[in-house]
């Protein structure tokens, strides 16, 4: 790649309000300067490192970040105090526990239907799905072929941007059930409880209504 394109690549990323994919940078340059220009997505990738080194050398407050399969300029975390004070973003509320839980399920199991989400969460998820759709963190991806043909949900580019992910595969993996089984929390308790204790309790308990009193 000709060194002259270093600044062109920088300008393209700088002027883009959304993460711009390497392929789009390559396409723009070839469309304008000719198909024979030698430039590949891996050239772009190398250029990003070079550019970020330059910003580091002048102790700049921003860097090029790899987000949502593209590149975007963003401030470094240490300026959050000042930048946050200015922007309206600061007033934005964080996602609720219910929203995060539902997002985690959709992110790992996508495309997934509402009944499947509700099976895992154990609660009706209408309201939370609506909130996530409104926030453009999830979207409708089509229909399942199963009975009733329910709608399928999946995460959006906005989801990747919101969590600072380059790719959906960058998500930390959920622990396997086997691992949870080895979890200290549960291992420690496992031996403490004796089998017959359960039956004992079951026998002792004749009226559930009584348990009411125990709360007071």
């Amino acid at each position: 790649m000709d060194k002259i394109y270093l600044t062109v690549i920088e300008a393209l990323i700088f002027a883009s309000d959304e993460p711009i994919p390497a392929s789009e940078i390559v396409k723009t340059i070839k469309d304008l300067d000719g198909e024979d220009i030698k430039i590949t997505p891996s050239d772009i990738e190398a250029t990003i490192d070079e550019l970020n080194k330059k910003y580091e050398s002048i102790e700049s407050s921003f860097r090029i970040l790899r987000i949502a399969n593209g590149y975007i300029f963003g401030t470094k975390q240490e300026f959050a105090k000042y930048v946050g004070y200015l922007s309206t973003e600061k007033s934005k509320r964080r996602l609720s526990q219910a929203a995060l839980e539902t997002l985690a399920i959709i992110a790992y199991k996508q495309p997934i239907t509402k009944p499947e989400i509700e099976m895992i969460r154990g609660v009706n998820s209408d309201y939370i799905l609506n909130t996530l759709l409104e926030k453009n963190l999830i979207t409708i991806k089509g229909r399942s072929e199963t009975i009733g043909r329910p709608l399928l949900y999946g995460t959006t580019e906005e989801f990747l941007k919101y969590f600072g992910l380059n790719n959906i595969t960058d998500l930390p993996k959920p622990r396997e059930i086997e691992e949870i089984m080895k979890d200290q929390d549960f291992i420690d308790q496992k031996n403490k409880i004796m089998m017959n204790q359960i039956e004992e309790m079951a026998e002792n308990e004749t009226d559930i209504g009584d348990s009411d009193n125990e709360i007071e």
């Binding site: 700088f14 002027a15 309000d17 975007i72 963003g74 401030t75 975390q77 300026f79 959050a80 922007s87 973003e89 964080r94 526990q97 219910a98 995060l100 839980e101 985690a104 399920i105 992110a107 790992y108 099976m119 895992i120 969460r121 154990g122 609660v123 009706n124 759709l133 453009n136 979207t139 409708i140 580019e157 969590f163 600072g164 992910l165 930390p172 959920p174 622990r175 059930i177 949870i180 089984m181 929390d185 549960f186 420690d188 308790q189 496992k190 403490k192 409880i193 089998m195 359960i198 039956e199 309790m201 079951a202 002792n204 308990e205 559930i208 348990s211 009411d212 125990e214 709360i215 007071e216």
Partner: protein
């Protein structure tokens, strides 16, 4: 007796996991009678405090009682001839839910990190050769946007109409009379003429509906006018009665 923080549970599974952790229970060997009692106590507490109990909690209460009963009955046998633990489905559900609950903690951490980063905010000063395209101001759209747009388009109209008809005191019947009166002196009239002195959009719409009503009643006919995007309204001779 028990200090249970209210409204901090995302659902019945979350509540059960809380009991399991608090009371150091073995998730693979859940004392069903005990946990059912705890669960019901929580629901009663909510009731006493006059808080709404979500249907999912009620469903879980029923499930727990069902398991409790099955525990005391002779065990069912699966196709391999092994005893089926009535708690198995519940345990699986708890483990699966726990996985994603853990994941949500990680997402929460990522969220807080990401909130410290701000993307470039102002693009107005970028030199651009091409003229600015109005369309590019709008976001990419999904099916969801499409449905919302449809709902908006469909729901806003009638609401506005009902409200404004009252306000301007225009009814379809009145406009029917108005149209017929106009046609008494002229054989035909075009819609622009008909709506000439109407200032409110609603009056024009009601007039248009009146027009359609008259067409349906076969009192008037419509035909294309020589002008572009225009039509003429003409009287129909009464054929019967």
């Amino acid at each position: 007796m028990y200090k249970v923080k209210l409204n901090t549970f995302e659902g019945p599974l979350d509540l059960l996991l809380f009991f399991i952790k608090r009371d150091e229970l073995d998730i693979y060997d859940i004392p069903i009678a005990y946990i059912t009692k705890e669960f019901m106590s929580y629901l009663h507490l909510l009731e006493k405090l006059d808080l709404e109990i979500a249907g999912d909690f009620i469903l879980m209460a029923a499930t727990l009682m069902q398991i409790k009963v099955k525990m005391l009955l002779p065990k069912e046998i699966d196709e391999k001839g092994e005893e089926i633990d009535p708690r198995q489905d519940l345990v699986n559900a708890l483990l699966e839910y726990k996985r994603y609950k853990e994941m949500s903690d990680e997402l929460s951490f990522m969220e807080s990190t990401q909130r410290k980063i701000t993307y470039r905010g102002n693009f107005a000063a970028d030199e651009k050769e091409a003229p600015h395209d109005m369309e590019s101001l709008l976001k990419n759209i999904s099916i969801y946007d499409l449905i919302k747009a449809f709902q908006k388009a469909m729901m806003e109209k009638p609401k506005e109409a009902v409200h404004q008809i009252k306000k301007f005191n225009v009814t379809i019947d009145e406009q029917i009379e108005y149209i017929l009166a106009k046609l008494e002196h002229k054989a035909s009239i075009n819609f622009i003429e008909l709506a000439e002195f109407m200032t409110e959009k609603l009056r024009i719409i009601v007039t248009f509906i009146a027009l359609l009503e008259l067409v349906k009643m076969e009192k008037i006919g419509l035909r294309e006018a020589p002008e572009f995007n225009q039509f003429e309204i003409y009287r129909l001779e009464e054929t019967n009665g």
